[in-house]
């Protein structure tokens, strides 16, 4: 407290008349006082308006305008009061040295190193056992908690629900017939029975495009995958898994609206623009005797974005 004594105590009553530090910052305090009063009155009216608006269940903007406006005027009034009518200062406060003397530091360190460390040093074996137990308490509490958070990925990311013979259905569950799509048309399809499930929508979603009238081979080795010009690609962008929801019909590109990757549907959905690193996986299709579109098999590679276990 020694630094306190060095300060000159000033009696407030004796300095009020002449000390400029205690004068308001405003050049014309009476005008400022009136402005502040107007703000407080506006705040009260506005907040009363809010209560009224709430009682009559007015639209949200009226509630917000009156409530926000009331708080705003209140804030302006209070800030102005503090800034213009209260003692302008400036006032000074000494900054005390926070640090201790070297002796005090040494004594603190000594307690930890010698008193605490000494205990451990004397009973090294016990100390080791204690450390081991504490580590196991940590492991025993954290590991099961972490492990229970979710299932192991296992093969989940490598398969979809498409199988040999699975019907392609649209979002309402209707099977797709060869006569359904005109050339240049597109529809999002799911494995039959999965169209309403979250997994069906998130993982199995597939775009079915009719790009021609005749059987269409998008790439070497995929002969017979595109009967009657119907080809199907996974709808999951290979960048970050957004649905490739835009079809640029004239350029025959599938576009992902998230980060603008573009996939050439005529050429195995190879990306020709944007950050996607891989083509969209193609689903081999077949047409059954009644003319319905079905899958030949599951996708031959994992759908969606890349991950470590993916080859």
């Amino acid at each position: 407290m020694s630094e306190d004594l060095s300060r000159t105590p000033v009696s407030l009553s004796s300095v009020r008349e002449d000390d400029p530090h205690l004068q308001p910052a405003a050049k014309n305090p009476i005008v400022v006082e009136r402005i502040i009063a107007l703000n407080f009155i506006a705040a009260m009216l506005s907040l009363a308006g809010f209560l009224w608006a709430y009682v009559v269940n007015a639209q949200a903007w009226k509630l917000g305008a009156t409530f926000g406006g009331g708080l705003f005027f209140l804030g302006v009034g209070l800030v102005a009061w503090g800034k213009y009518l209260m003692p302008r200062g400036p006032f000074v406060e000494e900054r005390h040295v926070l640090s201790s003397t070297q002796a005090e530091r040494d004594s603190f360190a000594d307690a930890i190193v010698n008193r605490g460390g000494g205990v451990i040093k004397r009973r090294k074996f016990l100390g080791g056992l204690l450390g081991g137990s504490v580590a196991l308490v940590g492991a025993a509490s954290v590991w099961p908690l972490l492990r229970s958070l979710g299932p192991m990925p296992k093969g989940t990311l490598f398969h979809t629900d498409w199988r040999r013979g699975t019907y392609a259905v649209d979002q309402s569950g209707r099977r797709i017939h060869t006569s359904d799509l005109a050339v240049g048309s597109i529809v999002t399809v799911f494995p039959e029975g999965k169209q309403d499930s979250e997994r069906g929508q998130a993982v199995d979603q597939t775009v079915l495009i009719r790009i021609s009238n005749q059987d269409y081979t998008t790439q070497k080795g995929r002969e017979g995958w595109g009967p009657k010009g119907y080809v199907a690609y996974s709808k999951l962008c290979t960048h970050l898994g957004c649905p490739v929801g835009l079809y640029e019909q004239q350029l025959q590109l599938l576009v992902c609206p998230c980060h603008q990757s573009m996939f050439d549907v005529t050429n195995g959905a190879i990306p020709n623009f944007g950050p996607a690193p891989r083509p969209l996986p193609q689903l081999p299709l077949m047409i059954d005797s009644l003319g319905y579109i079905r899958a030949q098999s599951d996708y031959h590679e994992p759908v969606g974005p890349g991950f470590w276990e993916r080859a």
């Binding site: 407030l12 926000g68 503090g82 006032f91 900054r95 898994g241 649905p243 998230c258 996607a276």
Partner: protein
């Protein structure tokens, strides 16, 4: 001292010179010893410079977030269970939506002031994160992070990261089409981490995307766990601030050993309480007049659907921009994939930026060899290298933020998306590289020109009666003249304990 107090108390009935307040203080002080510290607290001096208010914006928008957020928890249902919507928003009637989405729409339309509270919550989140960034820039450019305040700089950085994370979690909760796409991207980013990515993603989201656990988990993180950590860190931030006292700009009477400004009570208290109302008021007006996140227009999330011009809230923009402009380089080898096209822009890049931010005080002290205590702030122009480096990093982040709108820019300006993409790729490097030297030399220039930034006064040319012309500078503009008094100690009362007792008892702080 204590016998004065007890003698007053033994007198009974009559309160002392300070009435009931004095009585309450006596009672409290006897038990807790509040008087000395309390007076010191009321006398605590706060610097008057406007830039110290930026942190207050962050603090008070957090207060608004807590208040509006509590309101929202009464009506929001964190469940991905599918229900058929039959609420008051007729265009959605009969659609299958999650309870999370339905309750978000219902609380907007059916709960009184619900929409206002939702919009205020969203706006105050955007302001919270924004104010943190601007406050951080103030601390950075003025060197307020230097010894002894490195730890508070780190606390502040943690707060920024948590604010961004919690903003993202909250943005995801309504389960609308746009935010659902955001969750999908977050899942893919987690999945992309080499070696442990799929496990991380499955454990965080409770299984493969979309996972029924996502919404409930995000909810408890958003409303309890992260806000608790933020509250704790805000407490630590303010504790360190009070313990170490404020920094201040150099000026008359200001030294490394004092703080000059207004006392806590009543001046700062009036200003800061008023400022709380101001921030809340502005958020309220924004909630009233500026629509934000109209989830009923976006529609419910459906993993197979997507909307055009999907963009996250502003504070995630730099990540989205980085993901857009980073090329499609994926690494495949030994039967494994490292999706560099995801990992580098969305994991490595923010990792580098935040590591750099955390380490800056240590790095600067290492390279300048400056180990001294600093309570007086730098003017940014006095530290051209630091200022230029900070400006370059901000310019880099800002360019990435702009890059998150490549498609909108291309559409709006009728430009080829390809040109916009390449322009952003080039600008991401060019803008910071230009910003650095320009800022550096501007700062150097300002050092050389005293009074730079102030208006020059007019030269008034007058002709005397004899026909002689005389040029003289006009007096400075009155609003440019700031006369500041020499700072004075916060006034202390001299209290006479009892007029009948001879001799005054000085109440010391």
């Amino acid at each position: 001292m204590s016998d004065v107090v007890s003698s007053k108390l033994t007198k009974g009935k009559t309160f002392g010179a300070y009435g009931r307040v004095g009585q309450a203080i006596n009672e409290l002080d006897e038990r807790l010893g509040v008087a000395k510290g309390g007076r010191t607290f009321l006398d605590k001096v706060f610097p008057d410079h406007w830039s110290f208010m930026l942190g207050e914006i962050a603090l008070y928008s957090f207060v608004v977030l807590l208040a509006t957020g509590v309101f929202l928890t009464f009506y929001y249902i964190p469940s991905s269970a599918i229900i058929t919507y039959h609420g008051s928003y007729l265009p959605l009637d009969g659609q299958h939506v999650t309870q999370a989405y339905a309750s978000s729409v219902d609380l907007s339309f059916n709960v009184r002031a619900g929409l206002l509270m939702r919009q205020m919550h969203h706006w105050s989140c955007d302001i919270f994160t924004g104010a943190i960034v601007v406050h951080m820039a103030r601390v950075f450019f003025t060197g307020a992070f230097r010894k002894p305040r490195e730890s508070n700089w780190i606390v502040g950085n943690l707060l920024l990261i948590l604010a961004i994370a919690n903003g993202f979690l909250g943005y995801s909760l309504p389960d609308d089409l746009v935010s659902g796409t955001g969750i999908r991207i977050a899942f893919s980013i987690a999945e992309s981490i080499p070696l442990v990515g799929t496990y991380a993603a499955f454990f965080v989201f409770g299984g493969n995307f979309p996972g029924a656990s996502t919404i409930p988990r995000f909810y408890i993180l958003h409303v309890l766990i992260i806000p608790l950590i933020i509250l704790g860190l805000v407490g630590a931030h303010l504790f360190l601030l009070v313990r170490q006292k404020h920094t201040q700009f150099p000026g008359p009477g200001r030294t490394e050993n004092n703080v000059v400004g207004s006392p806590m009570f009543p001046v700062f208290m009036a200003k800061t309480a008023g400022f709380l109302f101001l921030v809340a008021g502005v958020v309220g007006l924004l909630g009233a007049f500026a629509q934000i996140n109209p989830i009923w227009q976006f529609g419910p999330y459906d993993a197979a659907k997507i909307s055009y011009a999907v963009q996250p809230d502003w504070y995630m923009g730099f990540l989205d921009g980085a993901l857009r402009i980073w090329p499609s380089w994926s690494f495949h080898s030994f039967g494994h994939t490292i999706p560099l096209e995801i990992t580098i822009p969305s994991v490595v890049l923010p990792g580098i930026i935040f590591t750099l931010a955390f380490a800056w005080p240590a790095l600067e002290s290492k390279f300048t060899g400056d180990k001294a205590m600093h309570h007086l702030l730098d003017r940014p122009s006095m530290r051209p290298k630091r200022t230029a480096a900070g400006a370059a990093v901000l310019a880099f982040l800002f360019t990435l933020f702009i890059a998150s709108s490549t498609d909108v820019i291309a559409n709006f300006g009728h430009l080829s998306l390809n040109s916009v993409l390449w322009a952003m790729r080039v600008l991401t490097f060019v803008v910071p590289l230009v910003t650095y030297p320009v800022t550096y030399y501007l700062a150097k220039e300002m050092q050389r020109a005293p009074g730079s930034g102030k208006r020059k006064t007019t030269n008034v040319v007058t002709r005397t009666v004899a026909g002689e012309y005389v040029a003289a500078p006009a007096p400075a503009y009155s609003e440019d003249v700031h006369e500041e008094l020499e700072p004075k100690v916060v006034p202390t009362y001299i209290e006479v304990a009892d007029p009948s007792v001879s001799g005054a008892v000085t109440v010391r702080r």
